[in-house]
Symmetry: C2
Subunit: 229 residues, 2 copies
């Protein structure tokens, strides 16, 4: 009996470790996609696209382990919460990686000069904020830290605000410079993808909070503003 | 023992029924969002946005039942495949509904006249194709029909092609009519959302095939073309 318990804990630690690994890989995909976009580096972008398969495989593995654990161990409610939480978080990480792949795909087709002074740096800034949110939420998961998760959840508004002002400026620029329409639209989609990653950081924060506290975060999520995006 | 088996089958049927219900609701959200966009009906769009909570709740319920079934019944591999498949399909349906909500959100902020002759009808056409794919893949799930699932999987290319040509024309129009940039960009995002729904119909087709055949669909997925989108 003691052996069973010990090895269940080992399974649980193993599952957490794999989710953490998947998180690191997802972060690497985000920062790689941002670097590729910044440098207009199509070769790097193609590496990011290829590496996405690895993340998908990790998600499938995590899903399989989680399901096997549930089937074999008949875990208690509190452990079930952790296992199902890991499943969900792996799902969100897969989506983050998928959005990175999408930015990388757009990077491979961006051509021509892009003249706007500060738009590219502002996309990078948005990306850095998203990376910081991901980093913090993954640390909150590792440390089973509900307070930090709650902080991440609250800070998503900043990302939405950055995306909104960036979109507004891109629209204004496109209107003035119609020949930049295709390029700017790719950037609009890239910014939108980053904003979606921020949403997934928020989703993960909700799961971490639930795992740690056993209840949902109360209150409404900050709302997204689509008037300009 | 016989009683246990019978009630496991009842659980499984119940799970399938709820996934089918979730599928119908997701389809209703897609067609509601399309109708709201077509008529620029902000009130209907707001209904779609509100109804999205219901779909999220259904996904949580399906997840909970699936996990409980796995924990209590310790199912055989073949049954596990069905239960995990239901979990995954519910996840894709949630994403389809989420994309409908996104179209509805954009509909609430679309203002002014939109002059392009055939762009709006072509978005509707794209939407109808997506609805047809969803309908077919949900029927393939209900009928445990791998051949139909495979057909859905193959037809996703048509949706990608429609989205590509629509995007190209929207870009051209925006370049000629810079004042339509904001409106056209909303439409680009709406078209992209529909194309993503098509991808999820493909994801569901892969799961149905796996549930029925016990193996993955072989061959590469048709690739998406981002040169103009």
């Amino acid at each position: 009996m003691e052996h069973t318990v010990r090895s269940f804990d080992a399974d649980l630690r193993n599952l957490s470790r794999r989710v953490a690994e998947m998180g690191s890989l997802a972060q690497a995909q985000v920062s790689g996609a941002l670097r590729a976009l910044e440098r207009r580096d199509a070769a790097l972008a193609r590496q990011i696209i290829t590496a996405d398969n690895q993340i998908d495989a990790m998600q499938r593995e995590i899903e399989e382990s989680a399901v096997q654990m549930i089937a074999r161990r008949q875990p208690l409610a509190i452990d079930l919460r952790q296992i199902v939480g890991a499943l969900r978080i792996a799902g969100y990480l897969e989506r983050v990686a998928d959005l990175s792949k999408n930015i990388a795909k757009r990077t491979t087709v961006l051509t021509g000069e892009f003249p706007i002074g500060d738009v590219m740096p502002r996309i990078q800034l948005l990306g850095q904020k998203v990376l910081a949110q991901l980093d913090e939420v993954l640390r909150s998961l590792e440390g089973r830290d509900g307070a930090t998760a709650l902080e991440v959840w609250r800070k998503d508004e900043e990302i939405d605000a950055l995306n909104n002002s960036l979109s507004r400026d891109l629209f204004a620029y496109m209107t003035e410079n119609p020949r930049s329409v295709v390029f700017c639209t790719h950037l609009l989609f890239c910014a939108k993808n980053l904003e979606r990653m921020g949403d997934h950081a928020t989703n993960i924060a909700e799961r971490v909070y639930y795992i740690v506290e056993g209840q949902e975060i109360s209150g409404e999520r900050p709302k997204e503003d689509l008037r300009t995006a």
